[in-house]
């Protein structure tokens, strides 16, 4: 009997040796988060990822699982982010005729928009007295996660602060677009999609696909171009401005 109790007590550690509990928690939280998002009538200020990640945090706390343990397991799931980024090439191709018709505004808007997204964030953080590490973590806040993680490797930021920044930026972007666009008289879903993708990376892109496939394609384009452009200019600008 005592042996059975001992085995029972050793069970959590045994299960946590595999990534499967972390994967199950993530799937469960995602499904719950999506369902709650629909129940709340799809609020633009609270995307499913915010609800779902809160559910994960609650489950980890309730099940007494360390976050680092969870992250190791969930890394198996995050591996799919690579092929998923490649998959964005498909809507990009399917909507290419729309994009080709607008190549000029797209190419003119992108460089200043991507530089300002990073510049505003870094400048404000600096002016408000943030440390060097925090400024480095916040500068790529509009860049899609896999690329942004590569950028902070070169500028010396923290991954947790970056991920928090990405989330807040994604939410703030969807909010700001639904707030400002009607007031500026902008209803063109290609413009809305592109702006969502440039500023709000994957979260903005998910929002754009809720508007329409065309908006989604423009968002994928905006996200991809911002990522590439920022990955090239930000480490360079960082070393020029901040030194070393």
């Amino acid at each position: 009997m005592t042996e059975l109790v001992q085995r029972w007590q050793a069970l959590p550690a045994h299960l946590l040796d595999t990534p499967l509990p972390a994967i199950a928690i993530t799937l469960l939280a995602f499904m719950l988060g999506t369902r709650m998002f629909r129940l709340l009538k799809q609020p633009s200020w609270c995307p499913p990822v915010l609800i779902a990640s809160a559910v994960v945090a609650l489950l980890l706390w309730g099940l007494d699982i360390e976050f680092s343990r969870y992250r190791e397991g969930a890394a198996w799931l995050m591996l799919l982010l690579g092929p998923a980024t490649v998959a964005l090439g498909v809507p990009l191709f399917q909507q290419f005729h729309h994009i080709r018709a607008l190549w000029r505004p797209v190419l003119l808007t992108l460089p200043p928009a991507a530089m300002l997204a990073a510049g505003y964030a870094a400048g404000l953080a600096w002016a408000l007295g943030a440390s060097r590490e925090v400024i480095a973590s916040l500068a790529p806040k509009s860049v899609t996660a896999p690329i942004a993680l590569g950028i902070i490797d070169q500028t010396g930021g923290s991954a947790s602060v970056l991920m928090g920044g990405l989330l807040a930026t994604g939410v703030a972007t969807t909010l700001a677009v639904s707030l400002f666009a009607p007031r500026l008289g902008i209803h063109d879903e290609r413009v809305l999609g592109f702006v969502l993708g440039i500023n709000g990376h994957a979260i903005g892109t998910v929002r754009a696909f809720e508007i329409s496939p065309t908006a989604g394609a423009f968002a994928s384009l905006g996200m991809g171009l911002t990522g590439i452009f920022t990955a090239l200019f930000l480490p360079l600008a960082w070393h020029l401005i901040a030194g070393q």
């Binding site: 090439g89 498909v90 590439i228």
Partner: protein
């Protein structure tokens, strides 16, 4: 089988993108290089096969779930950020509002005149 074949193609393009980024030492992720290669490949081929369409659609639907584990980290940030919350929140919220405004204005400004009417297609 269709789904698997599509997934294999996506993974293949990712590996190709990752290899190019690694060999040329580009600071760009393999996924983005793969996405560009995928777009070019489809433009050459002229159509999306059923397997690829199926796999990409299902992966894109789960994109949110794939970034979620990273996002959870914000609930476990230590006290090392004490005193910087105002700077972080200000930078993120005001910075994003400003950059969205600027981008909307820039894009709307550069749009061809004939296209400035709302479209629904």
């Amino acid at each position: 089988m269709l789904l698997l074949r599509g997934f294999l193609l996506l993974t293949g393009f990712f590996l190709l993108g990752e290899s190019i980024a690694f060999v040329f030492d580009w600071p760009v992720s393999g996924g983005v290089v793969g996405m560009i290669l995928m777009t070019l490949f489809l433009m050459l081929r002229g159509r999306v096969s059923e397997d690829l369409g199926m796999a990409s659609q299902s992966l894109i639907a789960f994109l949110t779930m794939l970034i979620m584990p990273g996002v959870v980290g914000i609930y476990f940030l230590g006290e090392e950020l004490a005193g910087q919350w105002l700077a972080i929140a200000g930078s993120l919220v005001i910075g994003t509002l400003l950059s969205v405004l600027t981008t909307l204005w820039l894009m709307a400004r550069f749009m061809p005149r004939a296209d400035r009417e709302p479209t629904h297609d």
